[in-house]
Amino acid sequence: MDVETVSQPNQNACSECGRKLEGYLAHHFCSTCQAPQPLREGESYFHAFDLPMKFGLDVALVQKRFYEISRELHPDRFVSSSVDDRARSMARMSFLNQAFQTLRNSSALREYILKLYGLRASGVEMRAEGRQPQKAAMPIELAESWFELQEAVLDDPDQAGVRVIEFEAELARLKAQGENRLKSLEAQFDRLPKDAETEILAILSQMDAELQRQNYFRSIEKDVERMKRNVSSV
């Protein structure tokens, strides 16, 4: 099992008793004085689970750690603690929940890693920083067949059924191709050393473009569903 550790922000010492903290449990609370640790600046979801930043996470391990840490941070354990400790355990628990929901879900994980590298700012934020939001290259063949399909449905809704089915197959094929490319980019990212910033950004930008294409496919899919309700022969 791949459990290389990541560098932790100021994780070495307990915020209360100053003793050395080690391991993924100690990241959340001190095993010596039992104090829940405050959320640290720059602490990521990967830090919370003491796992390296990568796409190919061992989801079973994430889940196992989630249960173990949750048990330690359970509010019942802090009923007689100080207000500060209770607040910290709550903040930790809520952070851990978000982290778990993100790391176990492959599309949430993609969004999260892209965001950590500044590639998921909204268009408005990017323009404010003087950057141009990346424009997804739309597969032109798909735009063409999508246009033709809508024309055909408009001309003769009763005869367009077959074409709708053909179009859906084409859409599914393009989606699957894109997903394969995303998987291969993920694997490339996971293999890179974390200081290879240029290569990392290049890969993540490609992923960004692929994800936008996937969004585009999904919005067309929804339109096709709507269209099917009006086409009697499907």
């Binding site: 408005v124 032109i140 735009a143 999508w146 246009f147 809508q150 294409r213 585009y216 919005s219 929804k222």
Partner: protein
């Protein structure tokens, strides 16, 4: 969301809807799609080969009111313009004319892209010819 009256006008009375013969040498066809919403827009221009002036323009758009209005306006604007003048049309001018809200800016971008794509198609058809103009 309330549409601006100019958008509604273009939506209800779209100018230049239809198509030109895409196989004609003097016709440039631009088909573009919006990654944000799945809208697709086809804009065609017919160009006078001697003067390089856009004689006619037609469009067909499957999309929201703003996308239809943007492309309708684009066909109005390109008519009578030279290729160079048409290429200079910016999406921001469409935004201004139609008072498009921020979430509909991509519709105007689509219209600008459609003009450029149509011109590109025309130019491609005439590649390798001796430039007389």
């Amino acid at each position: 969301m309330a549409y601006n009256t100019k958008v509604i006008d273009h939506y209800e009375n779209p100018r230049n809807v239809g198509s030109l013969d895409k196989n004609s040498k003097n016709v440039g066809t631009g088909l573009v799609g919006a990654p944000e919403c799945g809208d697709v827009m086809k804009l065609q221009i017919e160009i006078d080969e001697k003067t390089h002036v856009i004689k006619d323009a037609k469009f067909k758009t499957f999309g929201c009111g703003s996308a239809i209005a943007s492309s309708s306006l684009a066909t109005e604007w390109v008519k009578g313009k030279t290729i160079e003048q048409a290429l200079a049309i910016k999406n921001t001018e469409i935004v201004k004319e139609l008072s498009l809200p921020p979430i509909k800016i991509h519709c105007s971008v689509l219209a600008e892209d459609a003009i450029k794509a149509a011109i590109q198609d025309y130019v491609k058809k005439h590649e390798g010819e001796e430039k007389t103009a």
